[in-house]
Symmetry: C2
Subunit: 481 residues, 2 copies
């Protein structure tokens, strides 16, 4: 894939195969023409298609995710753009601009230098299942695999915006996709001067890991907004409108928000002013991390195993802010150890200018970190055996650290408290439990603690505090699900 004949030092896409078979569940849906990977876990029943890969499968693919395991968040049916129509795909840039643009994907390829960037996308709902177990939110149950990384190829959005020349007073960039939904097409907006800021890295992409975007990922054209929640990266892009106000699209207003924690589902349903307050809209991702190894339900034999076990996982920051430390505690936060971090994204930065996946790779002056990183820490089996849990937390370059406790909110988004894996000693084995399993899959210590009458909202993971013999009363919040 790389133009160089020598092996590049940066990660190349993992082996991929385009699914060829339409799966049974899809056959009765509007997506019945669309083959998909059977490993994906469906989070909203059969349709629309909202999926994540099993966390271990995702992690084992490495830094880059294959398109078939890349998470998907669809709001309705997938617009079908046949291969022969791809180059004729039309889109426009209009609104408060001096020079409105109407062009095709062919024009975009012909008239602009194509660039390739590694970018991690994350759904705002990543890890939401944990919130749903504490108290039911108005969102479906993502596990910790609502995150994926690919090499995206296309054109920096700022180049097109400069050509369109926004007028004085223009402050927002609204985007609309081709999907027709009950509440109109999917649309949202970002601030206009982010779109023209090279440090923000926004782009129009038509390829992913060197191949044409697949239908679930926006074929043939997608806005890709690194460092922000996936919901801003509009798929099947048809229209960009420059405006003085944020998007009034239904999905912009009633989705992708973190309302204040005291706003109940009832209050949110009855009072639309909460939704119309742009302060609560989510743009940047928040700092987050998860443990991938040990996996959920993994067992580790204390007899005959290596004396040291390598705990591993991922972390990411928001807004291009780099994860600068990842810390592990085995004693519920009393003391912390520093994990090793591998920022594979840096290896693209260090590479000489070259062609990659049909675009120019030249990132030496891109200071932002738009990808996940992997971390690891060796811990002795003895210490693991003496501990009841492993927690991980990350901090970004702005010293934003994952909070100890969950910030519950109506949509259950941006869930990022310390990620906890419990350790249970069973004869000669240690058994590990993650907080949850995605969708309706059973399992995880949160469910177990809750079923045993523990109050997950007691600020101590539902465990008894300080030697108390009586569990905390189960509050309405913990019992609501």
């Amino acid at each position: 894939i790389a133009a160089s004949s020598s092996t590049p030092s940066f990660p190349l896409p993992p082996p991929t195969s385009t699914p060829t078979q339409v799966l049974d569940p899809d056959k009765k849906t509007p997506d019945s023409w669309l083959p998909r990977d059977p490993r994906l876990i469906r989070l909203t029943g059969v349709h629309p298609f909202n999926v994540e890969a099993p966390l271990t499968d995702l992690f084992n693919e490495g830094f880059l995710t294959s398109p078939e395991l890349f998470y998907v968040r669809n709001h309705g049916y997938v617009p079908n753009c046949e291969d022969e129509d791809v180059l004729n795909w039309e889109f426009s840039i209009e609104g408060m601009v001096e020079h409105p643009i109407a062009m095709t994907l062919r024009d975009l390829l012909d008239q602009y230098e194509q660039r390739t960037y590694p970018i991690t996308l994350v759904c705002a709902g990543n890890r939401r299942k944990e919130q749903n177990i504490v108290r039911k939110t108005k969102g479906f149950s993502w596990g910790a695999a609502g995150v994926s990384t690919a090499l995206f190829t296309g054109v920096p959005l700022g180049e097109l915006i400069h050509r369109a020349k926004p007028k004085r007073g223009a402050r927002y960039l609204c985007m609309e996709g081709a999907d027709k939904l009950p509440n109109g097409c999917y649309g949202t907006s970002v601030k206009l001067n982010w779109a023209t800021d090279p440090n923000k890295g926004m782009m129009l992409a038509h390829a992913m890991n060197g191949e044409m975007l697949r239908p679930d990922h926006g074929k043939p054209l997608r806005v890709v907004i690194p460092g922000q929640i996936g919901g801003r990266s509009v798929k099947w892009l048809k229209r960009i409108v420059i405006t003085s106000e944020p998007s009034d699209n239904w999905y912009h207003i009633y989705d992708n928000r973190v309302l204040p924690t005291m706003v109940s589902p009832e209050e949110a349903a009855n009072n639309s002013t909460w939704w119309k307050d742009e302060r609560y809209a989510i743009y940047d991702l928040s700092t987050n991390s998860a443990i991938a190894q040990p996996a959920h339900d993994q067992q580790l034999c204390l007899v005959g195993s290596e004396p040291v076990y390598r705990v591993r996982g991922y972390a990411y920051g928001g807004g291009g802010r780099r994860v600068t430390r990842v810390e592990i505690t085995l004693d519920k936060g009393k003391t912390w150890r520093l994990a090793n971090i591998d920022y594979a994204e840096d290896r693209y930065r260090e590479a000489r200018r070259q062609n990659l996946c049909g675009g120019v790779l030249d990132l030496w002056d891109h200071e932002a970190s738009f990808c996940w990183c992997f971390w690891n820490l060796d811990i002795s089996l003895e210490e693991l055996g003496q501990s009841s849990d492993i927690f991980v937390r990350a901090m970004d370059e702005s010293m934003n650290i994952q909070p100890r406790d969950m910030y519950w909110s109506v949509l259950g988004m941006m869930n990022n408290p310390w990620y906890r894996v419990t350790i249970t000693k069973e004869n000669d084995y240690l058994r590990f439990e993650h907080p949850t399993q995605p969708a309706l899959l059973p399992g995880g210590w949160m469910e177990r603690v809750k079923n045993a009458g523990g109050n997950l909202a007691n600020g101590y993971w539902g465990e008894q505090i300080g030697g108390e013999e009586v569990p905390e009363p189960v509050t309405e919040a913990a019992a609501a699900e």
Copy 2:
């Protein structure tokens, strides 16, 4: 001050008077020529001059701070630039640039349009006294008034950098002041592409609230870097050097860092690799807030007072990220209420283009929030009387929320856990205590709790947990001070 004849809707500087008297403590120091305000609290003995205003005085001045109450962080003596030499002050932009620049302040005034921006500066040590009480750090004891706001007038840094034209490979902008210190002049660096990013708002300033910079604030020329810690805003600017590596100035390496929490003072002293790891350097401020009213030691009579009391304070975010919510709890975080926020900075944004303080004010397209905001919440006396403490926490637009617990580190910087004011009922009065008082001033609940044998690091503000009768043992960390 404003060019308009009508009263502007945005805040104008508070009444000011330039101190005329050299204070006794300064008379035996190299700053013996420099009159100062006697209200300022000295944090490092007599010299160098490091001061904050009493929190109530600072807060009562309102959104803008007078130069005489604006906090000061000096590393040594103040360079003396006489009024008649101001215009001839020379500075340079050199290093990895095509067109090195050597110019005077006169040139800067003559050749560039002057702009005025409201900017809050914050010392990285703000609220450090709290860290010092938990465990002694290598830094002096700021209270919560290491934060001040002014209208700065000067030239966007990016305009000069574009003129100098950095070469390929240039990644950092190093700055040096005129102060001569034991370890060389004060110097530090930021990323070069931040300096050319209009959204970052970096500038060279020569005036503050419409008057020439005063000596303690960098007369005659200062870099002002909004949204980042004050330590990056180099005073008495002499030299900008464009480089491929971060500054190797002693103060860049051994100051303004948050080392990982497990690095002890001894480890930090013995192992310089901790300091040379650029990941731990602080740039953006972190989200923070404090309560100003009730003030420390304030008493509130339950008889005959208004039935409702207005709690008030400040909050700020980092990197231009806006504070989007401020939350108050009266039950240690079990439930939260939403405070009202006043973002006075927005009123400059809403103003038409005009001259202000000798520069053009025209902020309609400046989306970043570089100033503090004020918040307030009315709480009934009855509720206050039933509570043992008031906590405040802020969240920024990236959903970064102040942590519950302190992240202790060797330099004690960026301290931003929930700000707690305790309530004690004494007969018909409620008495309020802030966490600490600055410098060596006694008082505050942290000192009281610690003196009573409480372990401030027990994750529960040194209080007994869950009905325990026995206080937690005093650990080495809590006893170390």
